[in-house]
Symmetry: C2
Subunit: 200 residues, 2 copies
DNA sequence: AAACGATACGGAACGCCGTTCCGTTTGGCA
DNA sequence: TGCCAAACGGAACGGCGTTCCGTATCGTTT
């Protein structure tokens, strides 16, 4: 899981690993530093903090990750991919498609809620985060659509909601769930999923 | 509805209207300018834009509205108050408490969704917006609690959700609803309210 | 081993933003 | 009319993201 796994060629087309050792080392250091800073200061921590923690200049950070979103994507790519891959698996092992959907959404919520400020940045319309938004959507919306369709086919839920809207809604509900002990995003998401049930 | 109605003494304690004509005029101009800029550029428009539109210096804007949140509150106070007052009225005229709750929430969502960026700023944990958050909560949570309780007493909904959480959830769902034609916050909020129904 | 280009580095500098501060102006009253 | 509290405007500050470019380093080639 090291090497920031360049070369899957899946979402952002793979760049060949740099020829130079220092470049590779710095990229690693930046990923580690970013992950650590994101945990303590949140995803919106100043770029300078990350550069400092990595022992690297500002130019370096921008050369490796042209936009802040690229850095965030790189840090969380594995977890997003894992979440995407969990979808079909859950469908296979759960009692009903609706149950699978619920568990999958729960997993996603757990992920978002534990990443300080990620949900907020994900929906932020500040220019520069479209790439982040797009990456999450590209990976997760198809999975969600699949689960949704399965549940709809089974007659468990209404079929008039797009996967995109559901994902956005869930993401929105997770905003601020950290940093406010009185707000339980999980419960609200459960309510939302419950509201999806076909009014038998 | 002019004069920024200072003196209700309700939420932010009333300051006596300034003795000086220019001060009153500038405050008016700022409120008008802010309202207009908020419509075109959103609630996060640069302070300088508002000052310029009002034909006023930066110092002036900060003297009248010590924090950005104060300005936003002043601009939207009437509408928030109107929303708060609509709660009991709806309860009196609706068929059931749950219907009243639904209509009231709809009204709130309509308000939020039509104010470019308001929902986002409302949940933003950037220091300086707590006052805004607090104002909305102070005015609306009690109303929401009242409606919720009525519906719970009537046995229409589960009773294990705090009004605060519901308001936050609804506010969150409204984030980004402007600026994305593929995301319909209203529908998701309806789903949420539907999920509230007692699983008869 | 030495020299050389490509590659990457670091951080000063720029522009934008919110906010503060203070010298200047003005309104209202004596 | 003269005075001064009140209010004004905008320069200045600090923090941020991002760009730019002179400098240092790596890996190769001779």
């Amino acid at each position: 899981m090291n090497d920031s796994d360049e070369g899957t060629g899946d979402a952002a087309q793979a760049k060949a690993p740099s020829k130079r050792k220092d470049a590779r080392r710095n990229k690693e250091a930046l990923l580690d530093a970013a992950a650590s800073v994101f945990v303590t200061s949140g995803v919106e921590a100043p770029v300078r903090d990350i550069a400092a923690k990595a022992g690297v200049g500002l130019g370096t950070i921008y050369r490796h990750f042209p936009t802040r979103a690229d850095l965030i994507i790189a840090v969380y790519r594995h977890q997003v991919d894992a979440c995407a891959e969990a979808g079909p698996a859950l469908l296979a092992t759960s009692a009903t498609p609706h149950a699978a959907l619920g568990q999958w959404i729960n997993q996603f919520v757990d992920f978002l809620v534990t990443k300080h400020g990620l949900a907020a940045v994900l929906q932020s319309d500040n220019a520069g985060f479209e790439a982040l938004h797009a990456y999450f959507l590209d990976r997760l919306v198809p999975v969600c659509a699949h689960l949704l369709e399965a549940a709809a086919d089974a007659g468990e839920i209404r079929s008039d909601l797009e996967a995109y809207e559901l994902m956005r809604g869930v993401g929105n509900l997770c905003i601020g769930a950290d940093s406010d002990p009185d707000y339980d995003a999980r419960r609200l998401v459960e309510l939302l999923i419950a509201g999806l049930r076909r009014p038998n």
